[in-house]
Symmetry: C2
Subunit: 379 residues, 2 copies
């Protein structure tokens, strides 16, 4: 099997941006342009969630056009918020297939021109139709899970807020983050309810942004960099569309499944992972992921954050970028924003938030953990 | 490089259906269930155009759920009407990557519950925003191309109608076709205008339907069939989102580019192809494709249909299934409906419309030929 390497990554500034998709893609790509001759890119895979935000579906062609890559292979891959990591997974598959030596993954979303109601509606299309008809929004799903988790294991609203506090702290050192502002547990507890027990400061924002990553075969990887990053694992797993069909709603089975497969592919253990970017769309989900990724035992993930073990410098640095909560969450770009952070961390380019890690993991999900993508990277 | 084989394919009846996506996927899969143990499928790629028709985006998870394939890898791939062939391309890439031995491609669309206006709007998202704001619908784009083609090369409205007459004739022998009704050139010429010079009977219908195909590695292909079909080529090419940016709007450059790459991959010439399924969303496009695929010289494609050479039994059988025009055009399913027809033709399962062909080609496109997928298959 052909080995695949991450050789370059770029990201736009994340936040409420004036620019549209085309400009955001260009901004992310500009960061890697000195490293990669666009002519050498043979295929482009674009992760983007919704056709409704910009009334556009041909994002593969659009990205190829913007980057001067026509008439090359280009199309869109999608599973709601997992789209960005799926674009990366597709690029890995393309390189491993031997069909191309260099593939580009692009993630992008331009959301802020729509109202919160329109975004909420677009995101509900990632859940089962029965749940949609019942009026259960995505935040409401996570709220039910949070409530059940608190009941089942004794976690508190403070524990969840501590995830947000950590991620805002990390983002202080990330010049491209949506929010660079320290918050306190009290501010989080007192922020307005979104879907009780989840509050505004438990929730990732609506963001605009783009991120890109270049995957190259072993044959050509060293042409681009002296420190190509090995893609040790790239896995995708799925779970029921409706949370109601799961045995235990506090257990994100697809995260566990994708992670188990990834650990086997990479031949590493959870305890070896030094840095992780995880999908904290709501604070409760970061805690669930600690457990399903094997960073803690089932039912005790909240102890990790209560003890501060997932700060940079702790047992394992989780979301050094600031995560979805503070770096921001432009849906289709998020998975690649995670890969971008690992790229910076593993090559020592993360500046004041450098962890010095050599082995990192990213987990990106769509729906309510109903499509999950895990990557393990090693420098 | 791992060789990839098409080992099974299935399709629902196409037309205005009462059923939703879930039932249509099940119906298509039921045709291959006797051949394939679902447990052996390792990944699922779903081609579907729009989130608006059923307010759903998680079609990968949905298909895996419907087919009992959770928690396996599953996601959506898309470039509007090219989605079906892209799902197949993705399955080919997955098998060639060595990551999986058996991959399932699913194409589905449930359109008929929406009004023609809603469908027209959803399809316009496949064009450039400037064209959308100008009010140029997809049919209007093809109408401009048709008008220019007639002016440039001397083709007539009769020539275009002859494509529709042929495809309706072929569909008479296809029990799963949307329309099984012979039409005449006069009926076509007298049908109501859609975007002049294109009329109702120049245009593919709004259809519901699903199709599936199984791609297997050389290692396991013969477990499923004694006559695995070699996938000789699988290519994707792109062209400007806006037709206005092309040098010659009558030349579908991405079709030519994808075909040229496919002929090189397959090591065959256009004259070797015995059967082809091409993307006749409007009759003019079948004529353009004759030229860009190299079945005729540039500017003389209309002579092929004028002389009746693309009927079954002619120089090359084009759209023996009835094509998009008469088999029907459930957007995300169309590319796999084409693969399904080649499967039937190359394995001699096409009944009274059998061509006896051993080498076939399919071309599926999205936008206005701005994303194009070509496959070449050989028994």
């Amino acid at each position: 099997m052909v080995l695949a390497y991450l050789v370059a990554a770029g990201m736009s500034k994340i936040g409420k941006r004036e620019e549209g998709s085309r400009e955001l893609i260009n901004e992310a790509f500009a960061e890697i342009e000195p490293l990669i001759d666009p002519k050498e890119i043979e295929a482009v895979y674009v992760g983007v969630q919704s056709e409704t935000y910009e009334h556009q579906i041909m994002y593969g062609t659009l990205a190829a056009e913007v980057l001067g890559l026509l008439p090359k292979e280009a199309y869109r891959v999608e599973a709601c918020a997992a789209a960005g990591a799926l674009a990366f997974h597709n690029a890995v598959m393309a390189v491993k297939s031997g069909l191309v030596d260099v593939a580009l993954a692009v993630g992008v979303e331009k959301m802020s021109a729509k109202s919160t109601e329109e975004v909420t509606d677009a995101l509900m299309a990632a859940s089962d139709l029965v749940d949609q008809l019942s009026g259960v929004t995505i935040p409401a799903h996570y709220a039910m899970i949070a409530r059940r988790y608190m009941y089942q294991y004794g976690a508190t609203e403070e524990d969840m807020c501590k995830v947000a506090v950590k991620n805002h702290k990390h983002a202080l050192d990330n010049p491209k983050a949506h929010f660079r502002k320290q918050i306190t547990v009290e501010e989080c507890l007192n922020s307005r309810p979104i879907a009780t027990p989840l509050k505004l400061l438990d929730s990732a924002p609506i963001s605009d942004g783009a991120a890109v990553a270049v995957v190259a075969s072993e044959r050509v990887a060293r042409k681009y960099t002296d420190t190509p990053i090995k893609i040790l694992a790239s896995t995708v797993a799925t779970d029921t569309l409706s949370v109601s069909q799961r045995e235990d709603m506090t257990w994100p089975y697809a995260v566990w499944e994708a992670a188990q497969r990834a650990y086997r592919q990479a031949k590493v253990e959870p305890s070896h992972i030094q840095v992780a970017e995880v999908h904290d769309a709501f604070t409760i989900n970061e805690i669930l992921m600690y457990e399903a990724l094997g960073f803690s035992k089932r039912g005790s993930g909240y102890m990790l954050i209560r003890e501060g073990q997932t700060y940079i410098g702790g047992k394992i640095a989780v979301n050094p970028s600031g995560g979805l909560k503070a770096r921001g969450h432009p849906i289709g770009a998020t998975g690649l924003a995670q890969i971008y952070e690992l790229y910076l961390q593993l090559t020592g380019r993360a500046g004041s938030r450098n962890t010095g890690a050599e082995l990192g993991l990213a987990v990106n999900e769509g729906g309510v953990n109903s499509a999950v993508v895990v990557h393990i990277l090693k420098v």
